[in-house]
Symmetry: C2
Subunit: 247 residues, 2 copies
């Protein structure tokens, strides 16, 4: 019992001395944790907060390392309060989970065991999301530009029931890992940074990322699709519309 | 495919017409959702936000209906960034989960299958949490008073690495359900309300609750322990201290 207490204590002291966090990886200089003095300042100077509270209230960790797209999708579906399937453990209540969002229909697009192995491309992600009564715009980064992304994402995050999920290369952000999905939650015009709620919470905290850095990380090629990554603009209209130059 | 789209659409239109949310239950008048105009106003007039971002960044849903204490504990352990056990699905990274926070040591206090059946009493919750290098104060509501609770909880939420978990009767708050645990995340002095991040996210959203209502809901008898419910004040000192009149 004593050794159980002493070991974490010693570790905590070491980490605290170096300023590192005990769980998540250290952030590169270009990223600012939301839960920091600077991150809070960005939050309070960002406005409005239409998207933030809905997305933060639905924040969850990807169940396995390849489920970043699945977790991001579940967060936004719950944030939109769309009618959800049931879940045996929560009966009689309904909520989207990373289990019940995948079914025979999504298997026809991409089987669950393939998502578990390799994750999804942006196109596959969009196709799975399009099974829900949503209005979606899917944009590959190469097809648009930095300014178009900034404007669309900012406007979406400022409108009720509008959300943005980004697909980017972690390496291009100087993070550990490969292709990744996560929802955005706010935009700070003064700092020109977006707040991203990273679904790999065992690895990285929510961060404020510069628009140009995020766009550059989206403007990278996914070796499975041979297309650039990008972003999906999502809202609830009950109609599936697919605009966006890339589809 | 068509019927799959039409049915949720029709439902969404009905719900939207009535102003109800599609997923969570309607809130009684005494509770204000964080994700509402009034809820955001409470948030922006509350200060400081030491606890909020740490707890919100770690927000998760209880895995099963009786795991409210387990989920609340996991949120605070992750918010504190304490050295966590490994989790096979996230190797080599570490994070507290509702699976790995329970082990042979916690089974000796209360076996997992009993937690799954009945949840935990405040004492059992405190005993499980005390296995971690924390400074805890456990307070049964009957042993203190409303003012002592308000002062302590407010001060904890204003200090770095200090957190509060409440154990209360949902019925006393006019909610559906019985005894429940959830972390607090902020205090708005002007409204005299605490923000509670409810871990039963399939049922209720985060809410602002009046201090007097929350205290009354804690000052109810748990039929398993025959003692009143209450609250736990938690911080990270590496030392287990148990003060509080009730222990």
């Amino acid at each position: 019992m004593l050794s159980r207490l002493v070991r974490p204590l010693a570790l905590a002291l070491c980490l605290s001395a170096s300023g590192a966090e005990a769980q998540t990886l250290p952030l590169p200089d270009n990223l600012t944790a939301l839960n920091s003095q600077q991150g809070e300042q960005f939050f309070f100077e960002s406005s409005p907060h239409q998207a933030y509270f809905a997305v933060a209230d639905s924040f969850e960790t990807e169940q396995i390392e390849s489920y970043c797209g699945v977790a991001s999708m579940v967060m936004v579906l719950n944030a939109l309060q769309l009618p959800a399937p049931s879940s045996p453990q929560f009966a009689p209540y309904h909520i989207f989970t990373q289990d019940n969002v995948l079914d025979a229909q999504t298997d026809a697009i991409l089987p669950r065991d393939e998502i578990a192995k390799e994750g999804m491309t942006l196109e596959q992600f969009g196709a799975v999301l399009a099974l829900h009564p949503l209005a979606l715009e899917l944009h590959h980064a190469a097809a648009g530009g930095l300014d178009a992304f900034r404007t669309s994402a900012r406007d979406y995050l400022a409108a009720p029931d509008h959300f943005v999920i980004v697909n980017f290369s972690r390496e291009a952000l100087s993070q550990e890992g490969g292709g990744h999905f996560s929802p955005l939650a706010a935009y700070d015009a003064k700092a020109d940074r977006f707040l991203m709620l990273d679904v790999a919470r065992y690895k990285y905290p929510p961060v404020w990322v510069k628009t140009a850095d995020l766009f550059a990380a989206m403007n990278t090629t996914d070796s499975v699709s041979n297309q650039t990554r990008g972003y999906v603009l999502i809202t609830k209209t009950g109609l599936i519309t697919k605009s966006g130059a890339a589809r």
